[in-house]
């Protein structure tokens, strides 16, 4: 019996091989192996120039979190920025999704597309557009100066709020979509039942709608918090060289300095922090959080 079972399984394995084989090999070679390599390198020693010394060492990690480490500060800053982005996206994105579900009618697909389309244009172009609008010299500043609403130009670029503004701008669509999907999935009978049972609109929202859209909220959190946390281009363009996030250190150590051990340990730590975040989101938001991001 056991043998028969084994053979059946084996046969299924063989017929699955030609279809799932190519992707499996590809993922192993070009996703898992590269991640494994930097994981290993992050535990190797380095000399003063940043070249690899093939011996086990925890020095890279010690260096990351030594007194006054700029990287440690950048990690904290990234968490703060990502959190602010996430909350802002929720505050704007949740009502947007709610409005589309309630009042979109037959325009729902179009309204959703209007949320997605901006994210299809190149990231660089979008950040540049935002910069041209709010910077100085910028379109808004020039306009308000001309109509004498402003006496002197307002420069918000190259500050922390500017970076967060850029992050919200880039990642907002990724909050609207999962929240929309979970709101759309709520059975209307539940809402009617709560009204029949005497719930006020506010109570109905808090006790029925909000808990039922939890999966969408945490799905959206995965999709906005994590990319914002690992972003490096928005801080580079909106923050100049003044407001570095963790990703900027990684780019700097890998590309400008070429210090692989230190760069790898920064990357591994960032990934570990993110895995922890995803774990928390799934724990709080349930399996639905994962479904909503796909």
């Amino acid at each position: 019996m056991g043998l028969k079972k084994f053979f059946i399984k084996k046969k299924a394995n063989l017929s699955a091989l030609p279809v799932v084989g190519p992707l499996s090999i590809w993922i192993l070679l070009f996703v898992l192996m590269p991640l494994a390599v930097i994981f290993i390198i992050s535990f190797l020693g380095r000399d003063i120039t940043g070249s690899i010394i093939p011996s086990f060492s925890l020095d890279n990690y010690r260096l990351l979190f030594s007194e006054g480490s700029e990287y440690a500060k950048a990690i904290l800053r990234s968490i703060l920025f990502a959190f602010a982005t996430n909350v802002a996206c929720l505050i704007i994105g949740y009502p947007m999704a709610y409005w589309i579900v309630k009042h979109g009618g037959r325009f729902k697909p179009l309204l959703l597309l209007l949320v997605i389309v901006p994210s299809w244009s190149c990231y660089i172009v979008r950040i540049y557009a935002l910069k041209q609008l709010v910077g100085y010299p910028g379109i808004l500043n020039n306009f308000f100066l001309k109509i004498h609403l402003l006496a002197s130009p307002v420069e918000i670029l190259y500050t922390a709020p500017a970076v967060v503004l850029g992050l919200i701008y880039i990642w907002l669509p990724f909050m609207v979509l999962p929240v929309y999907a979970s709101l759309e999935g709520i059975n209307p009978a539940l809402l009617e039942a709560s009204v029949d049972l005497g719930a006020t609109p506010a109570a109905r929202f808090l006790t029925v709608t909000l808990p039922l859209s939890k999966g969408g909220i945490f799905g959206g959190t995965i999709l906005t918090f994590i990319p914002a946390f690992g972003d490096w281009l928005v801080p580079l363009l909106m923050g100049g060289n003044k407001v570095w996030m963790a990703g900027n250190f990684i780019a700097h150590y890998f590309i400008v300095i070429g210090d692989l051990p230190l760069g790898s340990s920064m990357t591994v730590f960032l990934t570990a922090a993110i895995v922890l975040m995803i774990y928390l989101c799934i724990k709080l938001g349930g399996e639905e959080a994962i479904e909503r991001i796909l």
Binding site: S15, P109, S121, F254
Partner: protein, 264 residues
Amino acid sequence: MKFRKKGKVLLVIAIIGYLFLWGPIIVLGVFSFSSDSYGTRWLSFTAKWYGELFQTSAIMDAVIRSLIIASVTVLAATAIGTLAGYGLYKYKFSGRRVLRTSILLPITVPYIVMAGALLVYFTRVVRIPLGYPAIIVAHISFSAPLAVFITLGRMQRIDWSLEEASIDLGANRLTTWIKVTIPLLLPAIFSSAVLIFPWSFNDFTITYFVAGVGTSTLPLYLFSMLQYSLKPVLINGISLIFILLPTIAILVISSLQRESKKTR
């Protein structure tokens, strides 16, 4: 009364949201017709930036590079991704869960992590030359999982009895694949391609890490224009094109879908 007020607040936030998403790009598009060489104030109407844009060979070369990379990526990633999506749905095999979890990695881990890892891997371990080969390999790693998930999502809505019928009627596996399975999967293949192409065309971070010298794609070239202030005003025009193209594409696709629904 209270309910009405709530509806208004929702509407206002929704309008703010849409304005926020679209405002900067639309305003920039409008200012691409201003003769101001910074593109931030309205002087007089001109289309000269567009002329300059299409005559700047460095930009056109970058566009062609991006198109090549995106096309190869779409073909390869859609092929292996759709196959794997089919396999994950149809077969139970050992390592299925592991595969499903690991294809989530490139989607959920920040770009910078995979970009750094791939750079180290390509230069120190497998020695895939930076430039086209490295960029395309990296792009496939990111976009094949997208095709898998799109295929998995679509497969639940497909009537698989057609496949069984074909085998019952005596067609062999290969004929069934070509005549039945692939036509059934076409919508999934098409959606994957539509999603992957702009992703690959627009990608900055991963390409930036593994491009090496001399393989500047359009996003990379735009970045260098910003970094070294090489006529960034030309980007104003590009932003309008970037918004118009997908919009037109969507209109065409949705009208095609409506047509096909009618004929059905």
